[in-house]
Structures are given as C-alpha cells and as structure tokens.
Symmetry: C2
C-alpha cells in the first residue's frame, strides 16, 4: 500500500501527531481469518515466533538486557541482566536457610517458609552492575544492550531486613553486616547496618513470581540503588559486627583508583544515568516525527528530570517522564522530535531529586582525577544519526 | 533443625514479628558450595526447576492466572489469563494493519511501525473477563485460580486511541466505534467514543516486551477497567458511527438478564472486587502469625480501602495497601493475623475511590433482581480455616 508521510498539528492539546494518508481502497477487502481456528489455551504462554529478544552473554559470568527491544519500565524476568562470580547455583528451597548471627541477642536460622511468614513488601527497583559501561574504546556499532545492558527493573517482594534484625535482637552497637552467598564464589560483602533501617529487603519474589535462579533464587539481599554485587544473591548468612569485614570483593575488586594512588572503597551508590534506547544502533531511521525514548535511573531516589538534546548538547529540552516516577526504579522518558534528514547527535541527561546531574565524560574524569575509571561510569552518551538514517554510538575515547 | 514457634512484639514501631528461636549450633558448619561451579550465563532465563506455576486451561478457550503462586501486582506475561473465541491467531507483524474508517475525515490504514511512531504511553492496568467467577455450586476445593483466575495485571505500552482519532479526523458526531479482531471469531464490540477520549490505548507492549500472542499480538484495544472481551485483541479495524453496531457478542452474549425479563447491555465497567490469595485452598496453615494477603481491583479507578474479616464478617479491619496504589490495577493488600487454631472464616471487602463497596452475594442478587447472574459477579468471598489448618473455599450456593 503506497503511502506518503506527513505530520500534522492536531487537537486542542497541541499534540503533534504523525501518520500516513493511506485511504483504504474499497477494492482491498480485508482477509477472512474465520476459516482457520487459532491455537487453543495452554498452561504457559510463549512469545510470538516473530519476537526474539535475548540477553547477550559476555563470557560465562554475565549477560545484558536488550533495552533496544523493550518498552515501559518492567524488565521481563528472563531478560533481567545476570552477573555472577561462580555460576548460578541450584538451591532446593526446602533445604534453603538463612543464618543471622554475630552481634545479636538471638542468633537464628530462617527457612524460606519462615521468611514468607513475616510481613512482606513489594517495590519496583532497578539493579545495576557497577561495571555497567560498555562504551570504552572507539567502537561505534554498540547497541543499548552492549552499552548499558547490566541494569534491569523488577517488582521485588520480600521481607524488610529491619524486621529480621528486630527479630534477632541486633545490637545497637552493630554498624556493619556481612552478607554471604551460597554460590561457588561464596560472594561476601560488608554492608552498613543503616541500609537495613533504610530500605533493604530479603527478596524472594520478582515480577509477581518466585525470584529467578540468576537473580538469587530462592532469596537474595536487595539494597535499592546500590551497586549490584552488594545485593548478595543466594543469601545464606548475615553476620553483624561493629566494623566492615574487608572481603575479597571489596579489596581486590569493586574499588575505584583515585588520583592520589589510593582507592575509593564501599562506593555503593549508583549515580543518576540515562540511556536513549530508541533510536539507537542498529536502527535505520526514516525522516519525520520520531519519539526519542529511553530509561533513566538513580540510586539516590527519584528522577526529577531528563533533558534531551538533538544538537549534540548545544541545547537541551526536558523530556516527558512516564508517571508514576518511582524511587530507585527505571523511569521511561520520551521526547517527540522531527528528524528532517541531516546529521544529528541525540543525547540524554538525567537529573535526580538530590539535584545531581549526570556528568559529561570530562566532568566524570575530572571528579575522579584519573582516566582509567572502571566502575561507576555514568557519562552522558549519545547516538549519531547519519544523513542516510543509520544510527551509531557517538563514541568518545575512554 | 528443631525449632519452637513464638511471636514477639518488637521495635518501637510496634511491629508484630514472628519467627523461630533456632540458635545456630556451632557443630552445624555450613556446607561448602565452592567445589561446584554453577550454570553459565545464557540468553534467556528460566524458572527454577522447583517452581512450576501454570495457567489452568478450562477447555480450549480460556486459562486462568495462578494467583495462589504470585506475589506483588505484576502478572508474569506467560501466566496472564487468556480468553478467546476462535483460538489464538498467528499474525505476522510485517503484514499487520489497522484500518480506521467510518465517520472520519481521512480513513487510514496504520501498520505496526506506524503505530509505534506515535507518542506512546505506559500504564499498569488489570484486565478481567466479565465471566470471572468460579464459585458457583457447592464446591469447596477451589483455588484462587479457579475462583478468579481470569484477571491479571500488566504494564501496557501503546498509543492513545484519542491520538489516532485526531489523526483520522474523527467526526464530532461519532459517538460509537466498532472494534474488530483478526481472530477466527472476528470478534466485534461496539465501544463509546468517550472511552477513547478517557484512557483507551492501542497496546503493543506488555510487561516491557512485545504483547504476547494470547493477549492480542501484535496490537490490541485496551479499555482500562472495562470487561475483557471489549478490549478487542488482534485489532484490525475500527469503524466510527453515531450508534452502536449490535454485534453478536452484545446480543447473544455478554449481557445480563434482569428481573423484568429484559437484559442489561453494554455493561462494560468491572466493579470493585478483592480476593484473598493466601491463605487459601489448598494450603494447610500452621498456627501463629500469618500475613493474610491478596489482590483488589476496580474498573472505577483506585482502590481506596480493603477490609479484612477473620470472624466470618462480624468485624472488619482495614488492611495495609501496597503503595503506589495505581488506577485500574491490581492492588496488593496485607493483614497480619494470629491464628490460634480454632475454626475461622477469613474474608476481604474492597472499597473503591467512588465509594463503591464490594457487595455480599445477597446484595448483589437483590440489586440485579435475579439469581442467575452470569457476568459481573463480584461478591465478597472467603476461606474457611478448619481446626486442622486445612483451608477451603467458603461456598455459598449460587
């Protein structure tokens, strides 16, 4: 059906609409679908055979979410990013237990059934690996998945860690706790007790169902807004103390070198970041109105604003934010733009409720004082739209 | 590990906690998981082999959501209920089109790519089949899935129907539109145009990904809060008119007989309802503190309150509602209760923002004037907890 594009300003609300003037021809009678019965109901649904979103494994230890294929804010559970240090263990929920001990009045062991008897809470939160920046080097053929696939958002359900700390009688002198996983790496991290009194959960539910194996089945620590590795999965032990434990993952890894030769440690907070997921590589854009959209998130609370530039950062316009904007959750932003065909660089910049502004690469490096930043890399990024409509990552050397 | 139950009042907030006094014995060293590497990363996650939630097909044309297995508010896409009238068609998104014609200035055909170029919106909404009441007869061994499995909640993404109506230049005299599906039943319903100006969407996204086949892939009509069948799936045609079309599905079906021998027609709105999903058949409860929880929803907007009774309706207490309470979406409610072992009937009652109160069976029948109500059946329901802890549906003859 031959059509021509146009854009028109329509409606009292001044909504810019777009579409095609394809008047239906009387000769084009619709097909008759009534002669073929469709598929019957079944116990589990499947994706349409035309849709094949997939995580992209990087080695055996991680895989990223295909943001370029997604809408809204919820990440389907089988597309939630994964990152593990000794593979995904298989844990029988009947034998699972969580020990809480150390500086407590009553050391206790909780079964999964025990955890589920406590008052529960459900909250939508993002998780993000602190190493979630795939933009190093000069590669331009990078998808949103490659650039920032190691973040995802789910509705988590579990019991507040503060509830369990009251149950065991945590000592008021305890300021840190160790979280230990039941994976082959026995991943351990030291966490300030204050986070338990803020919003930490022991989560056993994800997007309505039991948490998935790669996300810590049957139960994990959830520290909303804090770097992924501290949200210890397959959680089997918590030990309260009055000092951090200085584990392998906070000495040899997950620290950031600073200009003076020391290393930043316990850098839990994930700062504000945004990512345009459409248009992005490998899309080829056609001229006319296009809704630029993407996700923004911050470990500090709610996203206050996302600015979009379509001129390489010379000017910025606030995007529409999808309501409800939830704390420490992906927020979808959208900005309508008329691409008239020239070369253009589109970029996004998140601002969170604390006033923190997503930095440029140069600002980020200047703040750290070193150029070899490995973790917590959240610079403003962009996409170059070429005159032929192809879209590539607008790389800066890193 | 031998444990004894107890309940304790802990913390300044007066939170009632529950748990076990299982002090860890020093002899019980934790197992060493470090000798077995876990599974590597992969392109698509899978459920833990211990978790087998399933829809329950009733014949070939429907299957219900296993509410007893779920947490929070989001329904995993492969567990979203399905109801169809000619099976689930397979539609190639490349050949999909939506015709909008009738009382419009410019009849138009939109491809799926066209629909995706318009400004989009994401919103969390429930869907519910108007025949979603499985409590008829005297059966007591009914699960939440059997009782009310034909409702689910997703985050939907699509284009506002009002946007498309502006694009085609809908006549101000058009008061109804026909929505026609591309399934073998060519399901058609007449919908007031006012719903398009309220909150109707053409949805192509569900829980972050492309809409699933049973939910209308690649695009469906979404009429938040209105009975499922009017949310026409596999939508291929919309025709605007100044009167309803009186289709098969609104004459022979989807009407309610009234006392005077007439039938109620165009009864789109799904009234407020609630359902305790735990404890429920077939759980066997153990004594002590238990968090009664469930879902409540209303087509009229937000749930204002859910009352819970643990004495068969003699007294009621407001449950905690999980924030954020979203409009026309499942809302999780929770109520902590100490079951001391006697026989008890637990019930829930939803109140929505309009003040509508979920009725008893008798009130519902009296309001209609007839006892053979087939659609829109939303009475207060309960679960009988027997002294041995077994839980059954507290049936009233229907």
């Amino acid at each position: 059906m031959k059509v021509s594009r146009r854009a028109l300003l329509a409606g009292a609300a001044g909504v810019v609409a777009l579409g095609k003037t394809a008047a239906m021809q009387a000769s084009q009678a619709p097909s008759d679908p009534s002669k073929v019965r469709g598929k019957p109901s079944r116990a589990l649904g499947q994706r349409a055979p035309f849709e094949k979103p997939q995580r992209q494994p990087r080695g055996v230890a991680s895989s990223g979410t295909p943001h370029q294929d997604l809408y809204g804010t919820i990440t389907p559970a089988d597309l939630h990013f994964e990152r593990h240090h000794g593979g995904v263990p298989e844990i029988d929920p009947k034998t699972y237990s969580l020990l809480i001990h150390g500086m407590v009045e009553r050391p206790m062991v909780f079964t999964l059934a025990d955890l589920k008897r406590f008052p529960s809470v459900s909250r939508v939160h993002f998780l993000e690996c602190s190493g979630n920046f795939g933009g190093r080097g000069t590669a331009t053929e990078l998808t949103p998945q490659q650039l920032a696939g190691l973040t995802s958002t789910s509705e988590w359900t579990g019991v507040a860690l503060a509830t369990l700390f009251r149950e065991v009688g945590a000592s008021p002198k305890a300021t840190w706790f160790l979280a230990e996983g039941q994976d082959a790496a026995v991943l351990t991290r030291s966490i300030p007790v204050s986070k338990a009194h803020d919003d930490a959960l022991i989560a056993y539910g994800q997007n309505g169902e039991a948490i998935r194996p790669e996300q810590g089945y049957p139960a994990r620590l959830l520290l909303p807004g804090w770097e992924g590795n501290s949200n210890v999965k397959w959680l089997r032990r918590i030990e309260l103390s009055d000092r951090p434990f200085m584990t392998r993952e906070e000495t040899s890894k997950y620290t950031e070198p600073m200009a003076d030769g020391t290393a930043r440690i316990f850098s839990f907070l994930m700062d504000a970041r945004s990512l345009i997921t459409y248009p992005a590589y490998p899309v080829t854009l056609s001229r006319g109105w296009v809704e630029i959209n993407g996700i923004a998130w911050t470990g500090s609370g709610k996203i206050r604003r996302v600015d979009v530039s379509t001129d390489g950062g010379a000017t910025w316009t606030p995007a529409r934010l999808q309501e409800p904007v939830l704390s420490k959750a992906h927020t979808r932003f959208r900005h309508l733009w008329n691409w008239t065909g020239g070369e253009a660089v589109i970029m996004s910049r998140a601002v969170d409720e604390t006033g923190y502004v997503q930095p440029t690469r140069d600002v980020l490096i200047a703040a750290r004082g070193v150029s070899s930043v490995g973790y917590h890399v959240n610079p403003i990024t962009g996409w170059l739209i070429r005159p032929d409509g192809t879209v590539v990552y607008r790389a800066e050397p890193w």
